[in-house]
């Protein structure tokens, strides 16, 4: 008796996401997966389970109802959330009682929020993963009326919170040189590092467009570059001179010149940059990038240790009263 999560109302970019499908690059299929993988890991840690599949809420949530009591975790871009009118704190896990309605609003910071459920979803795998790859036509955007079968939940506490791993939408992104960095004149590269860009309204899981304050960064030679492999984080400069930073659903090859590549540890900052957010770039050494990667992986490994019971907060009203699937009492706040 695993039950289902019913989608009563859906924001425009609601999809199932997981760690993606590595290994199909040679067939032209990029890995895909959650735009903010840190949030995916945080949701799993809050529920005491391995990182798996979650609902990715792109800018806007929706309304949901479960056919059985369901543990849920809310992570990523902060969104207003409530169950039958009772407010839920973000970056925490809760009980969603069978038949009650979970309502999640618009993103208040960042772009992508995540709804993780106890036991995960039980959806068929396509090429080794449950998540949607919208650009490749694997899976699809979910809509009102969809019912998602739930996996078996081993059970665990709710009413727990965590301080999210430090990241913001935008900010200064660390960049490594890439295949065409040297093709850009030195003064243009220098200007690239002093410019403040704004995240354009144009953007999706494939990538986001950035608008420079001043002149563009186009190259006359840009049209003559042979198509080569593309990786998430690559900063492509198309003809109009406004950079595109590519995300998990990017194409696998491309011909526009790349001025650099955002390091993997900073990709969540790109994904969570809401339209208008400010972005700057700083070239770093490979050693610095490796240290950042090590730091991020350590932080993800430490997540389970950073989870603690929430104290009662009038804002949380009496959700904590039926939070105990298995005996956790009120304790210290984590922050």
């Amino acid at each position: 008796m695993s039950g289902a999560l019913e989608v009563l109302q859906a924001g425009p970019g609601l999809s199932l996401q997981d760690a993606g499908r590595p290994g199909w690059l040679a067939q032209g299929l990029s890995r895909g997966g959650a735009a903010d993988r840190v949030a995916l890991a945080e949701g799993a840690a809050l529920l005491g389970q391995a990182s798996g599949v979650a609902l990715e809420l792109a800018g806007m949530g929706g309304r949901f109802r479960a056919t059985r009591d369901l543990r849920i975790a809310l992570t990523g871009a902060r969104m207003a959330a409530s169950v039958d009118g009772r407010t839920l704190r973000w970056n925490a896990c809760w009980l969603l009682p069978a038949g009650e309605t979970l309502e999640i609003g618009a993103a208040q910071d960042g772009v992508y929020g995540y709804l993780t459920v106890g036991g995960g979803f039980d959806q068929p795998e396509v090429l080794g993963a449950q998540g949607a790859h919208l650009a490749a036509g694997i899976g699809r955007v979910l809509a009102a009326g969809d019912r998602l079968a739930l996996g078996q939940d081993a059970g665990g506490a709710t009413g727990l919170g965590l301080d999210p791993v430090a990241r913001s939408g935008g900010g200064t992104l660390r960049v490594l040189p890439s295949l065409q960095t040297e093709v850009f004149p030195e003064d243009m590269r220098a200007r690239f590092c002093t410019e403040t860009f704004r995240r354009d309204a144009r953007g999706n899981r494939m990538g986001v467009r950035l608008v420079p304050e001043g002149a563009g960064f186009g190259l006359d030679a840009g049209g003559r570059i042979l198509s080569e492999v593309i990786v998430p984080g690559d900063i492509q400069i198309p003809g109009d001179g406004a950079p595109y930073v590519l995300l998990s659903e990017c194409q696998t090859t491309g011909g526009y010149p790349r001025i650099g590549t955002v390091i993997p540890a900073d990709l969540p900052h790109v994904a969570q940059a809401a339209p208008g957010a400010e972005i700057r770039f700083r070239f770093v050494t490979r050693d610095e990038a490796l240290a950042a990667e090590r730091g991020l992986r350590d932080a993800l490994n430490r997540l389970p240790k950073r989870i603690a019971p929430l104290v009662r907060d009038p804002k949380d009203i009496n959700l904590l009263d039926h939070d105990l699937v298995s005996g956790v009492t009120d304790g210290e706040v984590t922050r």
Binding site: P22, A26, G28, L226, S227, V229, V231, P264
Partner: protein, 245 residues
């Protein structure tokens, strides 16, 4: 410019990738080198390497940078490069000949006339030229299962458009710079849409989700509108796949 003396060369791509480039422009020998080098890597994958892929004239290696130091992997790739003349290698084994019926022109492929003019051909001559050409899958990339196909006769060395066509459908055959691309997804493109096929290059739910492989020989014989529509009504694509000998 054939500065092939500077090749092969190895360059980093992001934190977790290395690219082995065999040339800076498309040539058959550099394409063969890239395919053969990747095949060798697949046979004997170094520890810490997570996947390999090819583009037109390069082979890409993705690895875990915390498990395998980039400079250690670079030395291993460099050693492998030194073992033989990759440009002299054969095309991959198990190639197939794939025949994909194509409707040229009409409202379904509206840029035939424009492309023919750029190639200096009449529309009929353009259809004949493209129908009779046998091209090869030089790489799969950009979108799932999507082939780059080359090389067409010299007259097809036509540039990409400066502006993008906002949308071409799945199965669209497009042309530029002596190459064809057959689209696996609906996409904007700077290439000219000269033919339409029923090909679905990527079927995620199928046992064999990808139709084409690098090295395959492909032909696009012309069919008329009635035959094309009949295929659609029958739910078929008319594609044949046979061993290439």
């Amino acid at each position: 410019m054939t500065a092939e003396t500077a090749f092969p060369r190895i360059d980093p791509v992001g934190l977790d990738g290395l690219l082995v480039r065999f040339a800076d422009s498309l040539s058959e020998r550099a394409n063969r080198a890239a395919l053969a080098f990747r095949a060798a890597l697949e046979r004997e994958t170094p520890e810490g390497v997570e996947e390999c892929a090819t583009s037109l004239v390069s082979a890409f290696v993705r690895f875990d940078p915390l498990a395998l130091a980039p400079d250690v992997l670079e030395r291993r790739l460099s050693d492998l490069l030194g073992t033989r003349d990759w440009y002299a290698e054969e095309l991959p084994e198990g190639r197939r000949r794939v025949t994909i019926p194509t409707l040229y022109g009409t409202d379904l492929a509206p840029q035939l006339a424009e492309a023919a003019e750029a190639a200096g051909l009449s529309e009929d001559a353009a259809i004949r030229s493209l129908s009779e050409a046998e091209v090869r899958v030089t790489t799969i990339g950009f979108a799932p299962g999507q082939p780059y196909l080359g090389t067409l006769p010299e007259c097809w060395d036509i540039p990409r458009q400066t502006a993008l066509t906002p949308k071409v459908p799945v199965g669209a055959l497009v042309v530029a710079i002596r190459q064809l691309v057959l689209f696996s997804v609906t996409t904007p493109t700077g290439w000219r849409h000269v033919g339409q096929t029923h090909a679905r290059l990527f079927r995620p739910e199928a046992d064999a989700p990808f139709l084409l492989r690098p090295g395959d020989a492909v032909r696009f014989p012309a069919v008329d509108r009635a035959a094309f529509e009949a295929m659609r009504e029958a739910g078929g694509d008319g594609i044949t796949v046979e061993p290439f000998t």
